[in-house]
């Protein structure tokens, strides 16, 4: 069953008198529990595609079905609800609230979902434990390393049990060892049955996924299975 089904998606930005075609004609289907990497040169439209898939941005034309719901016709509130309940974002720059501790950052989506306080704290704490941060619950982002910040962000993405995780260059701001640890975490998350879509520049990061979609100039250049997929070793993780 498709979780994501986009057909002939285009996204045009108007810059002055010039039209920038970030996406020209993109059609992709993604099934439940897939692990997809999106690759392509800078400016090829990867982030734009992620924003459309994450219901942050509405395409200029084309059709988008998410879980068999037609997203293209939803209003702002409905999109906010989808983002809150069905989608977990992980960003390159972490995007945590700087003045809030890890727990509050992870709680936030649950606040917007209207989960009662006690249950919310419990779930947020569990999500932090799941990403290996049981000792950093009350640390603020500036008291955490880059890898730890990204773990908080991943916990925040996972805490609502979303249908998909969207990660736009999650290892882009991390050194390769820390990046590898984050990729291990994604692997675990995938193994638990989650659907993951990941944007990356790095071939070796992309090879963690089971499928690679390559974009170029707003078009899908190729879309194929990864033959010799790289499965990270569990014992290579050492978080704290």
């Amino acid at each position: 069953m498709n979780i994501i089904n986009i057909e002939h998606i285009a996204k045009v930005y108007q810059v002055g008198f010039e039209e920038v075609h970030a996406l020209r004609d993109v059609s992709i289907r993604i099934d439940k529990n897939e692990y997809v990497a999106i690759m392509g040169p800078s400016g090829s439209g990867k982030s734009t595609l992620m924003n459309v898939l994450g219901c942050l941005d509405t395409p200029t034309s084309g059709k988008y079905d998410f879980n068999n719901q037609n997203v293209s016709e939803m209003n702002d509130n409905q999109l906010a609800k989808i983002r809150n309940k069905e989608i977990g974002f992980v960003f390159q720059t972490f995007n945590l609230l700087p003045r809030s501790d890890a727990l509050h950052n992870v709680e936030l989506p649950l606040i917007y979902a209207g989960v009662p306080t006690a249950e919310r704290k419990e779930r947020a704490k569990q999500a932090l434990i799941d990403v290996g941060l049981e000792n950093r619950i009350h640390h603020k982002p500036n008291e955490l390393s880059g890898g730890q910040r990204q773990r908080v962000a991943i916990a925040r993405a996972l805490v609502t049990n979303p249908s998909i995780i969207l990660a736009d260059e999650p290892t882009g701001n991390l050194d390769s060892k820390t990046g590898e640890e984050i990729m291990l975490l994604f692997n675990e998350i995938h193994c638990k049955g989650n659907t993951i879509i990941l944007v990356t520049h790095e071939e070796y990061i992309a090879e963690h996924a089971a499928r690679i979609v390559r974009l170029k100039d707003g078009l899908v250049e190729s879309d194929e299975k990864v033959l010799n997929r790289y499965i990270p070793k569990l014992n290579s993780a050492n978080v704290n």
Binding site: K81, F91, H104, P109, Y112, G114
Partner: protein, 411 residues
């Protein structure tokens, strides 16, 4: 319903976090509101204080009393004209008393200022009131000790005195004034009565608490030459409804006594407390105007300041807003968050202002009795909340309609 309450509570908590995270900025923002609320509370307190004092003062003097005098008390324009009026003397009084049918009581009054002493205690410049035994009926005086001087004492110009509460407190701190011999302007008087505390500061010279009352004959004998001083005739109407009729009668009688022809102006004035009331109203009006002006101005400045700071805050937190939207904050959630933030800042400023006003009114109280009203508290809270909402609406709306993608790209 539950979710709305929940959202409100969460917005409030988020707003509080933001305020705590930006302490200095929040405090500066509060300043305008602080000043506005301080002024508005102080003002309403002062006005209430003046009003209260006025009411008690008025009821001590009696609101149904006319004062026939050479001078018009509350009009100063024709001073030179009044100066040339003939004085009002005791013969006028006797004739008036003879002819007036409507008044409940009529009394002649003449004043003098003297030093009053008992032992080592003394008061300079005491307002000395000389009248007859009917005088007490033209007032609403009550006595804490003794009585007013009698008709016999009055007619035979005895050296007896009735003293106001302030005079008694100063000369007799132990409260044992009755039957003591005091010295007024060097002459011995026996205290026959002490008044309850009656009036209030607002009456100035009319404040009975600071006066001493003696028979008018005694004044003429010791302190004033009867053939020079001009007296006031106090006329009390039988009841307030008859005041106007009593006044018309009094005017007619006085014109007759003074031998005025129909085309001559009155050479006397009939004064009423109303004159004082309108003067007080003017004072209150000025306080109100100035107060509202300052309040309005500082609230306006405060509101503009808050709006600016909220705009800056929205700008600074563009990325944060993007993140919040990405993880599911609705427009109205963001709107609520910023509205809560600005109104909470304002409310805090308002409450601090309220506390400052209450403390200040304690200090002011030493010069001018104030009266703190519950409505002042309500005013402070409502005014600051509304200011916060008005100042917050535009920035909050800007934040709410930010495009999430743009907001996330913002550096």
């Amino acid at each position: 319903m539950y979710t709305i309450l929940f959202e409100i509570r969460e917005s409030l908590l988020i707003a509080l976090r933001a305020i705590r995270a930006n302490k200095m900025r929040s405090i500066l923002t509060m300043l305008g509101i602080f000043i506005g609320v301080t002024v508005v509370v102080l003002m309403s307190t002062a006005i209430k204080g003046i009003d209260n004092a006025f009411q008690t003062g008025m009821s001590a003097l009696g609101s149904d009393v006319l004062y026939i005098d050479k001078w018009a008390w509350f009009e100063h324009d024709e001073w030179w004209k009044m100066r040339n009026r003939r004085r009002i003397d005791m013969n006028d009084f006797y004739a008036f008393k003879e002819q007036a049918k409507l008044p409940l009581a009529v009394a002649p009054v003449i004043n003098s200022r003297q030093t009053v002493k008992f032992g080592d205690n003394r008061i300079e410049n005491v307002f000395l009131n000389g009248s007859n035994s009917d005088y007490v009926q033209t007032t609403n005086f009550t006595f804490s000790m003794g009585r007013f001087y009698s008709e016999i004492e009055s007619n035979s110009a005895r050296h007896v005195a009735v003293i106001g509460s302030d005079v008694s407190n100063t000369l007799f701190p132990r409260g044992d004034a009755l039957d003591k011999e005091i010295k007024i302007g060097g002459v011995n008087f026996r205290v026959v009565g002490v008044l309850d505390e009656q009036g209030s500061w607002i009456l100035g010279n009319f404040n009975p608490d600071k006066q001493v009352f003696i028979p008018i004959g005694t004044i003429f004998k010791n302190f004033q030459n009867q053939s020079f001083g001009t007296i006031t005739i106090n006329v009390r109407a039988a009841n307030p409804l008859l005041l106007e009729e009593t006044k018309i009668e009094a005017e007619g009688i006085m014109r007759k006594i003074r031998g005025l022809t129909f085309n001559e102006e009155n050479d006397f004035s009939i004064n009423q407390q109303e004159g004082l009331a309108s003067q007080i109203d003017q004072t209150v009006g000025v306080i109100q105007f100035v107060g509202f002006f300052i309040t309005g101005l500082s609230l306006f400045v405060g509101a503009v300041g808050i709006m600016n700071i909220m705009f800056v805050s929205v700008k600074e937190r563009t990325k944060e807003i993007g993140v919040r939207k990405a993880i599911g904050a609705k427009r109205r959630t963001i709107l609520g968050q910023f509205l809560f933030e600005s109104s909470t800042i304002c409310l805090a400023g308002g409450l601090v202002g309220l506390i400052a006003a209450l403390l200040l009114s304690k200090i002011v109280n030493q010069f001018l009795p104030t009266s703190v009203q519950w409505d002042a508290v309500v005013i402070a809270i409502v005014v600051s909340l509304i200011t916060g909402l008005i100042a917050g609406i535009a920035p909050a709306y800007t934040a709410a309609k930010l495009d999430p993608v743009e907001a996330l790209r913002y550096e």
